[in-house]
Amino acid sequence: MLRATLIVGFGVASVLAASPCESRDLRDLYFGEALYQANQGHYFEALERLDAELALHNNLDEPQRDSLQFHIGEAEFSVGDFELYYRMHRRAGRAIKAVLEGAVDEAVRNEAAYRLARIHFQKDQAADALQALDRISGKVPVAIRDDVEFLRANVYMALGRPEEAAAVLKRLQGAQSLTGFAAYNLGIAMLQEGHEQDAVAQLDKAGQLSLSGPGPLAIRDKSNMLLGKLMLESTDFTRAQQFFDRVRLDGPFSNQALLSSGWADVSAQNFERAVVPWSMLAKREVTDAAVQEALLALPYAYSKLNVHGRAAVLYSEALKSFGQELTKVDASVKSIAEGRFLKALVREEIQQDKGWAIRLRTLPDAPETYYLMQLMASNDFQTALQNYLDLDELRKKMAGWQTNLDAYEDMIRLRRKNYEPLLPGIDAQFRELDAQIRLRMEQRNHLQQRLHQLLIEPRPDLLATADERIVMEHLRAIEQSLEKTKGADKPQLEERLRHLKGVVTWTLYTTYPQRLTEAHEHLNALNADIAVLNKQYQEFVRARQAAEHSYLGYDDTIKRLRTRAAESLETVNKLMAQQGHLIETVAIEELKSRRARLEVYQTQARYAVADSYDRAAKAQGNDPSPAAAQGTSTGGGQ
């Protein structure tokens, strides 16, 4: 029986758990933001951010130009990690499988395989975990090398293949990060193999390692506890005693060790020695099952020492204590049935503290937690509690979303109200301006073409000023008039006309290069103005689009989101009720089981009190009163 239950002791979550993400030389701010959220334990927000970033990245035509490209491997891993931390094992598995099946290098593929194996193992799917581990080949990142092997050993053990587990664990004995855990697990593997002597020697080693930190120290205590129980089973009470004595008095196994130590003494008929650990234990927190057992065991030891008076007093005290504890358990059951336990769970201040389960116990109006600490420490119950808290968080988020959607709809309504009457007038005005702009642009283009042509084929007349054109028109008119004239001064007038035309032509030809340069300068100035005009034009178009986009095209999205959020909220409420009911039922069942245990103790104490008083009275004379017993106890207890 003992050995069958020992095997569950090898799961070492603290070693298998991945550390929170860390990233330096950051190139993508939104990825950094996801890390910021994850580093604070806000995995929903981290996933929300990273999911969006990855979707955006994967939909790009050229993802290699996106800044997330620099962290893409890390980001894909992080999604799986965040999902795991957010207790979404199925999605985490899918995310990691996607990495595993992608075109990634050997080290990344191996790390993905390791993570996938870890998920399978945590979900009690040892065969799948081994399959994932078997995909690891070639280069394994140094940071996870030992963890991979440790996981492999644990998987072998879960599959009932202790020989292979032991072989792996032997190689891991020098691994710094696994000190204590690897040693303990090797002992367990040897026990599974049936090599009891080797197992005891190995566990003895594990129980004497020089370690620090709560995890390693607890596993060392566990090694010693296990050894003590093995020795008790094989009736080697002296050695059992030695191993129980090694367990720290302030560790998580302390109460069990003190209780077992006392039983080891009793089994060796050394009742006097049993009194020492049990006396110490009886003064501890009375809600602990080991302490309650000690309350009965201690007077039992005294009675075996024939100190019946002392035994009678201690049985009386135990009886009183059991009565008080039964009242407390009943109050706890009542409190849970009234829903106070769940209310206490969702309190903000509790969730902000990592040790909230412990703090919960100190809440004056949460008596229901007195007897639930052990239950709360179990993985299944923790998952259920965490799920309940997650659902509560989702419910709060979705309630906030409904308010936000109302506000957005109002905002859209106001924008529509503001823009819709304005836009037709603006559009009409814009169409007019647009027509003018197009005309001017055509003119500019024409000018540019002509100037360009002038560079190839000079035409000074085309660069004449307005005055010069008028002069030339005059001269042409005079010329036409002269053609019709027959007077004597006609030749003289023609000569003068030619002279004047020559002056104009001279001016046009001699100033032509300068005029051409100036014309280009003016064109450049015009181009600058047109650039400003184009910019304003684009800005107007964008502003116009933005005005329309600020209220158009949202209705369907909002409607869809409302429906989806309402459906999800309904599911969340339903699940929360089911989860809450299950938590309460399990908690009440636990309390009932503790109650039944207390009742058994109470019955025994009640009988034992009477029996002890009788014996004390017999020892003193024939007065079976408690006062007489007290007198005996004072002497007997010394």
């Binding site: 990233s23 701010l29 988020k397 933005a546 989101l561 058994v600």
Partner: protein, 173 residues
């Protein structure tokens, strides 16, 4: 004495019966918890997908790309500055102020980046003023203000400010 011993045996037997009954109940509850866990995972997935769509809607509605500005805060690698608060002003207007809890500071120290401000600015030239207060590793109070100029185009603008005890750096993403 023999009677007492018998009582202990009876107690242990009763407790064993209680224990086995509770083990059977545990298995049934464990199954129910597993079933619920699967459903909780499903609903989480749905809600995450709604959250993503809602975030896109919010961004489109509240921060159109033409005016979108986001300011991020990061800590310089290996810097020992213990950051207490950051204040951001844009064009003389205070837009963001953050006081850091231990958890937030730790998240920054591990390489996280905080989006301290998301808002809208017009295209063109702008000024940003960043003021930080904190403590140096010597325990001395530390305060610093830096001014940065930035230009907003038609695309969304992302600005990253890296804080350190010797300087504040503006990065343009």
């Amino acid at each position: 004495m023999r009677i007492l011993k018998k009582f202990w045996l009876a107690t242990l037997a009763t407790l064993a019966v209680l224990g086995s009954a509770s083990t059977n109940a545990d298995a049934s509850y464990r199954e129910q918890m597993k079933g619920l866990d699967e459903q909780v995972q499903e609903v989480k997935s749905d809600v995450l997908s709604i959250a993503a769509e809602l975030a896109r809607l919010e961004e489109r509605l509240l921060y159109p790309s033409g005016t979108h500005l986001a300011v991020f805060i990061a800590l310089a690698a290996r810097d020992t500055l213990r950051l207490d608060a950051v204040q951001i002003q844009i064009d003389g207007q205070a837009v963001a102020h953050s006081i850091y809890s231990f958890k937030e500071l730790e998240a920054l120290q591990k390489g996280g980046v905080q989006r301290i401000y998301t808002g809208n600015v017009t295209t063109g030239e702008h000024q940003m003023e960043v003021t930080i207060t904190g403590k140096l590793d010597t325990g001395k109070d530390y305060s610093r203000t830096e001014h940065f100029a930035f230009s907003k185009g038609v695309e969304p603008k992302l600005l990253g400010v890296t804080l350190g005890s010797s300087e504040l750096q503006l990065g343009d993403w």
